[in-house]
Symmetry: C2
């Protein structure tokens, strides 16, 4: 006990309690999955859709709006452990791909008190977690996500210039909808650049979670080509078309099959399994090749 006491005293030498208020630290979880949409046509391939899990707030502030699942970091766990705990509470899943994204520390981001939030991205495949959009508990739902650049403006200033870009974020789950406009400003002055993000409009989306979602989508798009994150969104066995659809849904554009197959060739291993269900040529099933990257 005296050891702890002296440790705390050592700490207080450098830490002025009057000036530095200890904030609350939370983790916010960006849980993504890719699901099949019902295919209306006769034997058309079913489209896939990128989904994110949101929870309906049952308290003020933002009562009734949608928010990312999250929780506070407690004294006896690391922030990574807090993220794992929050994820398990929300989905019941363990051993899921988790990645720290960014830490949000603006002053007024929680109107109640000072909260600093560390955001984590989790990727699961929908087979493992079969909660369907629109079903399940009323307060946790998978929302279809998409974002799109809608406007770009360049302004010349005295010492440089400024580029403003607006991203439109759209989320939907059955009749529930949420949306936001996030403005990203890049200011270049005296050869130095600075990037600032702000939420212009938010509809049904709590706190600054729109920024977090835009950030996560950006990260997903950036990493999908040179990492193995796409495989976390698929079951163990999948066709190359499945994989291609995951890429297309995340990148938001169509890809050519021939080039795609060559690009992912060394990330996958062919198996003996074959999927023969639809009205067309059956497809070989592949699995992830965990050794595709010799480096870490």
């Amino acid at each position: 006990m005296s050891e702890n006491h002296s440790a705390e005293q050592l700490f207080l030498k450098e830490y002025d309690v009057n000036q530095y208020v200890r904030p609350s630290v939370s983790v916010d979880m960006l849980l993504f999955t890719v699901t099949e949409e019902e295919s209306e046509n006769y034997r058309k391939r079913s489209d896939k859709s990128l989904k994110i899990l949101l929870i309906k707030r049952k308290e003020h502030p933002f009562l009734g709006q949608w928010a990312l699942p999250g929780g506070f970091v407690s004294a006896n766990e690391s922030i990574d452990e807090a993220a794992i705990r929050v994820l398990e509470k929300e989905t019941g899943l363990r051993d899921v791909y988790l990645e720290q994204l960014y830490t949000w520390g603006d002053i007024g981001r929680d109107p109640r008190t000072r909260v600093i939030s560390c955001s984590y991205m989790a990727l699961i495949n929908s087979d493992l977690y079969p909660l369907q959009p629109g079903e399940g508990a009323e307060d946790a739902k998978w929302f279809h996500v998409s974002d799109q650049w809608t406007q770009k403006k360049t302004t010349v200033t005295e010492n440089g210039f400024m580029i403003e870009k607006w991203a439109e974020l759209r989320l939907g789950s059955g009749t529930d909808e949420a949306s936001a406009t996030v403005k990203t400003t890049k200011i270049v002055e005296h050869g130095h650049s600075k990037v600032v993000q702000e939420i212009e409009k938010a509809h049904n989306l709590a706190f600054d979670h729109a920024k977090m979602i835009v950030y996560a989508l950006e990260r997903l798009r950036n990493k999908i080509d040179y990492t193995d994150i796409a495989f976390h969104l698929l079951p163990e066995y999948f066709t190359l078309s499945d994989l291609q659809q995951v890429f297309e849904v995340i990148l938001g554009k169509e890809l050519l099959a021939a080039a795609f197959r060559r690009k992912v060739a060394d990330k996958v291993l062919e198996t003996n399994h074959i999927r023969r269900n639809a009205g067309h040529r059956p497809s070989k099933l592949y699995r992830y090749n965990p050794q595709w990257d010799d480096e870490l």
Copy 2:
């Protein structure tokens, strides 16, 4: 006042004070620059060196060891603003390139009390901040940095395998030295992978700052090709050889001049200025082209 009171009460509804102790949040600054080393030979080009600013600790714990500059986040500033403030206190500089890196939240990382640290990387050019290695205040010094992968081990486990890699971090400033070995473990099981980093040995380096430095070096290497970060390490006017040396110092390998010039051609603008000082053909001076990337 009553508004604040009810806001706090709203907050306490979701926040169990007994379970969630509010930690201290600090920012730690990874301040890099590139300096010229004295060239010993007659008209050889002077080598460049990547430097990081470290501060000698004047308190327990880690008394006398070297640490990253840092400070606690106060109640009336965002964490970005805290980073700017810490940087200005340390260097007197404002309007410097700053980038949030990662947030470190392990339980025992500060032996005194629970501290969560958000690390920021700052890049400055040494002309702006002429503190020389070995000179200046005894307690703040530029250290030469380098890291190197020294060992790699692959082990097959029951449900997958495990790759361990060791990185040797070396820091030096005159007679002062610090070093550390950071082990990175990638565990692949059931098709899922997890990466863990730990410090195996640390000599003269305080806290978990060795991990932060290794992380920052990795980030620098990854971003230098597709962003403009290299230019923040150079003065406004520079030769293409200067730029190439910055790349070489960060990537830790030599590059071919012809290919390099073509690669950076659209990131720079030719100027009328010429540098004519050494015993060889004079070189054109270039400056950063802030519009090289049409996108953000």
